[in-house]
């Protein structure tokens, strides 16, 4: 954004004389915000390995019931959407979205030589690396690096959480972790704090860790002011689940509907590692996901933001087809991935249901590399250089 606009925003937020010193600490050559075309990506990460097979259910497949005698969802409970597939009974909200063409579900998404460890697999998904590579930067962080060189507007990428995950950590630029704008805003208004930050740039600091800390504070402060401003504009009347995840989705809705120039939102829900007693655990979690997504899409539609929003929901792996000895499932491989939005080219199920016969050591085999989905989103939705960000070219899908 240009200098004048930034001054106006800061003045609104703080009304204070320290603004000029702030500018010394910031590089305003970035242009991401002035290029903000209104298109937003929301990534919902389901941590732990959601059992996709019990989420979107091939209810006509005998093998499903044979391999999951106690764990399969009974056909009578399945929310059927076509002749072969149905939704988990807890997902009535998402079923409604499916029926009006707001969902695209891609089956059998994974990657070659899959890893069964949470950390490795989540690392692979968040850094978009091959399973034999270890990358330090996240795919969305690298998007910030390539599309936002010199830009220090941290609010361009927001993770709605207490802490920042790997996906939004670029080599040079990181997203901003925030889930309580008011609390953070008040903290940045302390006089000593403001003066202390203004010192940056006046003293040669040999310690790179200290440098990093000062830089983080300055960036945080300016972005927090911006975001706090936005939260005063729109207040939703939709009912979100009464959980931390629900609150986080609500904040995203309010920021989008307030016109925040944020390109990416990231939010996580954990608890999906259902090695035991899966039935009850997964039901609780999917209720939250489904109800939350319904409320979010309602808000976006009400405010004409839905067509400019794309929601990507994923988990780091699916689970083993056969249930284990504890009424749960162990780590698997391929899983389904959900896209939600008002501008989907392909609505409903993108491809055929999972093959329960030809398994890979008891696990569903992947057909679509998740990086193809990322590449499609990066190129067609975010208008970015997907090859540069992902390190190589991946087939694009006809999604958006």
């Amino acid at each position: 954004m240009n200098r004048k606009k930034f001054l106006q925003l800061s003045a609104l937020a703080s009304g204070s004389v320290f603004i000029p010193k702030f500018l010394n600490g910031l590089n305003l050559n970035g242009s991401l915000s002035s290029d903000f075309d209104g298109k937003t990506l929301i990534v919902i990460q389901l941590s732990g390995g959601n059992d996709g097979l019990n989420t979107f259910i091939p209810y006509k497949n005998d093998l499903y019931y044979k391999l999951r005698p106690q764990l399969a969802i009974p056909e009578s409970s399945v929310l059927k959407v076509n002749a072969e597939m149905g939704f988990h009974p807890a997902m009535s909200g998402m079923k409604e979205l499916y029926e009006v063409g707001d969902l695209c579900i891609i089956n059998n998404v994974g990657y070659p030589n899959p890893d069964h460890s949470h950390f490795r697999s989540m690392d692979i998904w968040t850094t978009a690396s091959g399973s034999d590579k270890y990358l330090d930067s996240g795919w969305l962080g690298r998007y910030l690096d390539t599309s936002c060189a010199g830009c220090n507007n941290a609010h361009v990428a927001i993770e709605v959480d207490e802490t920042l995950g790997k996906a939004m950590k670029g080599k040079m630029i990181k997203g901003l972790a925030i889930n309580n704008p008011e609390r953070l805003f008040r903290a940045t208004k302390d006089p000593f704090f403001k003066d202390m930050m203004a010192l940056k740039g006046n003293d040669k600091n040999a310690n790179s860790n200290a440098d990093y800390l000062y830089k983080t504070l300055v960036e945080t402060s300016s972005s927090v002011s911006y975001i706090y401003d936005k939260t005063k504009i729109y207040k939703t009347t939709e009912i979100y689940p009464d959980t931390a995840f629900g609150k986080n989705l609500k904040l995203i809705a309010e920021l989008i509907c307030s016109g925040s120039e944020t390109k990416i939102y990231y939010v996580s829900l954990s608890g999906f590692d259902t090695h035991a007693r899966q039935k009850l655990l997964q039901e609780k979690l999917l209720t939250v996901v489904s109800d939350g997504m319904k409320a979010l899409t309602n808000d976006l539609k009400k405010n004409n933001k839905f067509d400019d929003t794309l929601i990507l929901t994923f988990s780091e792996f699916g689970r083993r087809v056969q249930q284990n000895g504890s009424y749960g499932t162990d780590h698997g491989e391929a899983n389904n991935l959900i896209l939600t939005g008002g501008a989907l080219k392909k609505k409903g199920f993108y491809n055929s249901p999972p093959d329960l016969e030809k398994l890979s050591q008891g696990n569903l085999k992947y057909q679509t590399d998740f990086r193809s989905v990322y590449a499609t989103v990066l190129k067609q939705w975010m208008k970015a250089d997907d090859v540069k960000i992902l390190g190589s070219e991946f087939d694009k899908l006809s999604l958006i």
Binding site: H118, D190, L213, F245, A276, G325
Partner: protein
Amino acid sequence: MESSQQNFQHLYWRAGFGPGLDSMKSGKIDDEIKKVFENSKNHIPIILTGWNPVTPKEARSFTDAEKSAYRKTEREGRMEITTQIFNRQANASFFLREKLTLFWMGHFACRVGNPIWMLKYYNTISQNALGTFSELLKNMIRNAALLGYLNNNINRKGRTNENFARELMELFTLGIGNYSEKDVKEAARSLTGWGFKPDGDFVIRQEYHDTGDKTFHGQTGNFDGDDIIRIILAKKECSTFIVTKIYRYFVNHQPNSDHINKLSDQFFKSGYNIELLLKNIFTSEWFYDAENIGCRIKTPIELITGMVKVFNITFVNPIARMPIQKVLGQTLFDPPNVAGWPEGLSWIDSSTLMYRIRLPEVLLQDAESLVVPKEDFDAQETMRMAGETAVKGKKVKTTYHTSALTQKFFQTSDEEITKSISSCLLLTKAGENRYKLIDSYTAGTDKNTRIIKTAIYLMSLPEYQLC
């Protein structure tokens, strides 16, 4: 190495939880190192009195009121254990053992809620923290909290659950790339039936134990858990994996392969002797190199404990410390997941850094502390009822003592106060303009107030986050 104030401080921040106000020691640092290890020679277990656990059977016959009352005593038990640990970290002469215990609790990471299990977990680790890794490992594969967290109690012959076996190799001993999926499956078979009784005692349920032959890392036999770890420990990769982790925690987040390989050779040859490994580290010249001093972001526990020591801070209600730990990302017996607490710059982002900078205010001036707990990683936590509730919107009430601080610096001249206190609190120089800024905020106050405020402002600088 030089017996300088900075080196003493460096030692105390790495071997313990900071020097408090006592950073300047007379004498040689070599003698001090010896003393640090001497003080941690013995293990003193934590004992919980006045708490009677019940069996699940008894609990089932409880009325709702009895259940509620029992849960309350569980919370109190948890609080008492945690508070005792925090006290030890801040005040005990055996802080080295406490530091290692904290490290191992992050290594054998698991979530524990039952106070009796918590106690067994902490005491087992603490007893073996400075012994051999082999003995520690042998005990941990029999620990109820760890076995339960990783579902090994339901790992049965013919219906295996691989969770424990996988994390045993991935996170506790070898690291990714040093074992195969087959090894995981065979280790799981070897650990079938290894479980525990409700009071946390280890038991092997023979009817669930697979006594067939397993092929593990190229060897075949009717293996059980002890065989599995014997085979693992015979591999040099295990030694290097552990030494690398210890190096990154105690020396520098950036590993140095020369130092690590040498240390690993010694560690492996010594039969995985942890005390010897730490001695080798603390007596090495390179440990005191400039690049290893002040290079580490303090963990939340180190950060809070450091302040506690300077001001002798007590939480009026001990539970008030919990949400602070949670927001900063580190709660005892409650790591984010089985990989423990991620270290280094992972502690820092926009949100946590803001909170850390304001921490002195929160702990010392009754400032408001609005905190929200984070959702948890694994399925079991989602089911469990929250024992500790977040202290939302309530002020953190503490008592603290400034006399030790003011007495130490009362004779210092006004011009020298900021610099003097800074050399006591910070490991690296903060720079003239920071001292000037602080002076501008403390000018005109009486001596005692000036000393106290100076310390607080220094603790609010980003430089204070480093040790």
